[in-house]
Structures are given as structure tokens and as C-alpha cells.
Symmetry: C2
Subunit: 454 residues, 2 copies
Amino acid sequence: MQVWKDYQEKNKDRFLDELKDLLRIPSISANSANKEDMRKCAEAVKQRLLEAGAGKAEVMETAGHPVVYGEKIIDPSKPTVLVYGHYDVQPPDPLNLWTSGPFEPVVKDGKLYARGSADDKGQVYMHVKALEIMNKTNSQPTNIKFLIEGEEEVGSPNLEKFVADHKDLLKCDVILISDSAMISLDTPSMDIGMRGLAYIQVEVTGPSRDLHSGVYGGAVANPITMLARMIASCHDENNHITIPGFYDDVINVSDDERKMLGQAPYNENEYKADLGVQSLWGEKGFSTNERTGIRPTLELNGIWGGYIQEGAKTVLPSKAYAKISARLVPNQSSEKITAMMLEHFKKIAPEGVTVKAENLHGGEPYMTPIGSKGYQAASQAYETTFGKKPIPVRGGGSIPICTILERELGVKIVFMGFGLDSDNLHSPNEKFDLANFYKGIETIPYFHQFYAQQ
Amino acid sequence: MQVWKDYQEKNKDRFLDELKDLLRIPSISANSANKEDMRKCAEAVKQRLLEAGAGKAEVMETAGHPVVYGEKIIDPSKPTVLVYGHYDVQPPDPLNLWTSGPFEPVVKDGKLYARGSADDKGQVYMHVKALEIMNKTNSQPTNIKFLIEGEEEVGSPNLEKFVADHKDLLKCDVILISDSAMISLDTPSMDIGMRGLAYIQVEVTGPSRDLHSGVYGGAVANPITMLARMIASCHDENNHITIPGFYDDVINVSDDERKMLGQAPYNENEYKADLGVQSLWGEKGFSTNERTGIRPTLELNGIWGGYIQEGAKTVLPSKAYAKISARLVPNQSSEKITAMMLEHFKKIAPEGVTVKAENLHGGEPYMTPIGSKGYQAASQAYETTFGKKPIPVRGGGSIPICTILERELGVKIVFMGFGLDSDNLHSPNEKFDLANFYKGIETIPYFHQFYAQQ
């Protein structure tokens, strides 16, 4: 509607300034030192919701960081859309690789750089501003609720209980999530699936104390060497994962779906150039998009042990550690795979070392049906503002809370991600293209319109 | 001599207090933040030498940390002994594993705990106090010179030039080094060889930036996984090192020498219990003492990459690093093996990653002949104070400067190490048994006596 467009045009600089204010708050959920920043950020989100026209907004307690709830009910007989998002962000390290401060947002070449710009404050804020536009132009077609949590980046440990305890408050007809990416503004796409996650930490202990590598080297199993052997054994020569039973529950994607997913544009040379690699890597028999979309994977997220400062220290360390995670596809169970991984790493411990393994984080894979009312309304909204139908894709990332939201609230989820894969999520120099931010704000009201019309 | 024994008995508490003062100075050569502590420590060593009776003592400049030189010439016609040692120490981390501060020396159960207590301040101080005893009792049999450097723990980068520039000053008949261990006070032993060292750092780069492990995982080579594969490939199933040519220059030790070295007492159960391991590890076909003495080894000293803080971060990192060192045996060249290792790690880089490798530290292996005047005088000294002949052993550690000292000064080195393998060198809770400290002070004057008599 022209009135929406005009309102956004008149207020777009303020929208950006407000988002920048939100990005200045270092709401790092993983770091206990940022506890007060977390609360400050929750209060700011609540305040913005009220300003945007929410009839009610509250910071609500959990056993961890608080949840922000907001709502604008226009007519109980109309359909209700629940927007889920998160105000917490990933830790910004390694800090030295940022070209500007992670919590000092700056716009360069039309892109807004800051931790959380795309994941997920910027995308949450599209919905807050869409509410404002519809509200201030008296054209809100649906009831809208907001559930903005503060623990997504640490696995949403307290959200399940919160949702179960507040089913009435959160009652809705569809859930809308903008916490993922699209292919590009030229080629809009919508996620129809998210991979699950099983994230563990492995601790390998050799001798009970750090040793002099000259005095003991060669006579005692080195925990770093042993950990390396364990990691190296996790993929075979075709880069299949070797953990027994790992693929048991994977349902092979039909040729038809592979064909449909294969329509997403992909240019291998551009992909390689963007990542700065000479050649790609992955499971034999699958394309790059399949490797990141429909296949489970096992990645090393961190490793450490021994002397890691400047210079040389001739130590044979007592311990070495790794953070290891698997991405899971539909029908794989995070709990089952986590147990399998914990068991596997203990089982393959070489002689001379002992291995402890613990679960750090997890979430189930999720699929949303293309035929649903929600998906169709979103698809129509994209078509209206982009001039073309979005391509359905399987996203590689995980939003562990999806399965829980669907189960507790009994409704389907629609993913309207407006970020790009190249947004440096979880990396230094995270950014969000302003064109995507504004396009998102433009598209979201149409979703509500088409959804209300169905 | 009774007069030596009486002097030590009367002054032993002061000797210990003085050593504690020296240990309170955090002379960490690897850390540029400790530059002023290094100088303070050098000045303290100089002062102690003067107090002990040195006719001359100086702090002398190098391009790095200064060298302390001292001497007590009693008669130019008598033989001259050069004592080499170092006043620098290894970094104390990981700090959290120390039961008392690394630079707050304390005595517990007859053991002096502090970084540098055994390696090497405590052992250097035995020589300073031996000088004092001989000097104050007018019974010094030889001329004594001291060369106490501040860069041993970082590979003595400036000592070669210093020695070459000061050949006249350092002119001597034999070099005496106390920077290693003995088997025990019950079983005295003397090192007849030291292993060489080649220490490199490897950097593996995958994508040019840190990536989201969900969005890109499975499609791009993970540098941690690739580094693990490289490390795992460095030993075969018999724990032989697989780097081509690595063993080419190793001279197999004769059965006779193996038999002689085999006389050192060794109790596998005690060894395992001390290290807290269920089973030992090492190159097939060799005993534990052979693995650490006469065989070259390859050890991982450190590894890091990706997210290594608390909690879970789903990152596919851009880089992973390892510190890797080899211990070398006589006839292997540190330079040659270093070049071989640098080349090897670049060559085995898996597809999809690039590898950089750099030399950090190195030193040649060294052997000293049992038949030399110096060795025989030392052996006699041990026999006098311990009541039994020391067993000749091959030490696993490295004192890289040995080869250079021998070449530049044209004399042989004698190792009189009074530490124990269990002293936690380079580890948390480094200690030096006071019984060993005092036994060293008792034994050293006899070396000078017997050496002067030959």
C-alpha cells in the first residue's frame, strides 16, 4: 500500500538510528559479565515495542535472561501472528579482526556493521517497524504478538518452560521468524527447513600434569596428538561421517525435491571467491547446496591445548579440548545424536589418554510445509514487493526452538529471513544490508494482509 | 672437606633465603612485558656473585636480554672452569594450576616451589654458593668463570654472537652446566648427551573469514579438521615419525651402549603412577628410557583455533594453529630437520586449505665423552659425596647452546644436573628438593678439587 511506503520513506533514517541504539548494547548471552547489558537490551526492546504501538509490552523473567513479550490486539476474531526473534548476540571475538567496534554500529557502502545487525536485532527490528507502520496508518490486518528471547545463541535453555507456562498468552495462528537468510534481493528465497544441532565438548587427558616435552616426549601419549587422531577419524575418504549409526535416521530427499532445491542459483566460482578458497570440500555425491541444506554435517568449532601464546614452550600438555558440533536433518534426533557423539568420542579414545565429553547445546531439525496458509501468504508478500516468487530452500543453520514452539503452541512456523549468507553471522564484521532491512520492513505488512485475507 | 661442610651447615638458611629472593623476580624471557624484570634479575645475579667472592662481575649487553659474566681468578696457571647457566625462566601459565604463586617461593615437605627453582636459578645458585664456600674458606682449587644468560628459554638467539665476541674473556679448560636432572639422590646419574630441538609453528587457513558453521558447514574444508588430519598422519601405527627422511641421519646406538644405558633403574608402575596414566606410549621396539634418551621424537606443544571460550559458538573458523617440536639425537641437524618439517607440513596440506609454517626455536644435539678429564672429575666428586659412582644417562631435554659453546671455546662440556625429572620443569608447581640443592652445593667444590688435581 502506498501509505505504508510513504510512511517508511519519511521515517527511514529514524528507523536506522533506533536500530543503531539497540546494536550499541553488548547483549552477549554467553558471557556472564554482560548480564546487566542483557536486561538493558530487553528493556530497550520493550520500550521500542510500546513506541511502535504495542498495547502491552513486558520484560518477563526466566531462570536465565529475560524474555520480552509484546502485543497489539486489534480484534480477537482476527487471526493472530506471533513474531519470534532474539535480542541476544554471539560473542564478538576474535576482536582484532573487526574493522570497526562490534558494538559501535557504522554504515559503510550501504551496509550496517555491528554484532547483531543481521542476527537478529536488525531482523527483529523490521517487525517492530512494520508494526509501527501498520499501526500509525491504521491498517493493521491481524493481531500481532512478539516473543523476543535473550538466550537463542546459547540454545534457549529456559524458553521451553516459558512457552509451556504461557500458552494462553502466546496463543496464535502462525509463527513468523526472521532469523535466517535469503539468496539475494534479485533472487528472493524462503527457508522451508532448518537443520538441527548437537554440540559437544571433548576433553582429552594424558599425563596428570603438564610435562617437559624433552624429558617425557616420546614416552607418554600426547593429548593433542590423540585428539587430532580422533578428529581425523571422524570422516572417511569420501567425507562421510564415520560415527556408527549417524546416518540411520536420515530420510533421503526425493529426486523431485532435490530438483526443486537445485533451482536455487549457484555459481561455484563466486562462492569460492567470496570465501577465499581454492577448492571446495564436502561429502561425495552431493552438491554444495545439498551439503549445507539436506545433509547432516560434523564440524570442529574450536580446539585448544598446551602452550598457545607467543614463542616456543617445550611442554607436553596434560589436556586438550575440542568443541564439535553436528548439523542434523529432519527425522534425526538431537538428543539421540548427542548421546551417540558423547559415546563415540569416549569409545575411540586411544590408549594412554582418557576422554570426557559433555553436551553443550542442541536443537531439533525443523521443516515447514509449502502448502500451509502461512507459507502461501509470505510467498505472495515477496511476490508483491520483489516482483517474483521466492524460491523454497533448505537452510543450513539451526533455530533449535522451532520444534518446541510448534509442539507447545500447535501451529506452523514461517521463515521470512531477509539477511544474506555473506552477512558474517557469528563472525567478525557482521553486517546487514540496509536495502535488505528496508525491503523486509516493506514486505512484512503484506504478509499480515494476505494472511488475514485467507 | 670438613671445612666446606661446616661452612654450608652454618649458612644454609641464608643460602635458601637468598635463592628465594632471586626466584621472586619474574624473569620470563619470552614475555616482552617482563623486560625490566629481566634486567633486575641480571643485576641481582651479578650482586650475588660479587658477594660470593667474585673478583669481577658485570651485566653485559646483547641485542636481547643481558648476560651476566663473573670470575674469580686465583692463579692464571691453574685450570679454569666456566660455569654456564641461565637466569631466565619459562612462562608460568597455566596459572590456575599452581598451588602457590609461581613467583612467591615457598617450601613444602622439603621442596622449594617456584618457577625457576630447578630450571635454572636454583641450580645456578648452587655454583654461586659453592664459590662462596671455597672462597671464604680459602680453598678454591681452580679459576672459575660464570656465563649466566637470560635467553636460554627462548633459544639463546644472541649468545652465539656474545661468545664469539668474547672468546678471550670466556677462555677456559672445561664448561660445567647444571641445567638438567639426575635419577635420584639414591641413584646419582650424569647426562652424557642432550637431544637437539627443532620447533615450528604451523598455520592452517581455510576460508578467508570465520563462517557460520550451519550456513557453510559441510561445504568448506574446516582448518581444524585439516590440521588434525595432518597431525594424525605424522606417526604411523608403530609411532614412528612419517616425515620422509626424518631418521636418515640417526646413528643407531650400539648394543653395548643400550646395555649400559639400560642399567638406569626404571620401575614402570612408579613411572605410570607418577604421571597418572594407565598405559605408556611410544615408538615400537624401544624402552621408555630409550624413547626419551636415544630416539628422536615429535611432540605437539600447543594447538588452537576457533571458539575456545565458555559455551557454544557455531563457528567454522578461518584458521587453526599448532606448535610442533622434534627432539633430535646426535648426528641429526636441527637446521636440516627444521627445514624438513616446514616443507613437510606445507606439502601435506589437504585440498581446500593453505598452510604456512615458520621456525620458532632450535638447537643441535650434544654428546660428551665419558673418558674426558671433566667427566672423570665430576664422577669422582659424586662418588665422594653420594658414596657411589654416577650412572651415565642420555637426557631427553635440550640445551641448544652446547654445540656453540664447544665450537667457539674449543672445550668439552660436563653436565652436573642435580634436579629430578619430577621437578615440573616448564609446568605448574615447578620445584627443587632442598636436599638436592644442598647436595649440589656439597658436590661442586669436589669437582673443582679433582679437576685441579688431574
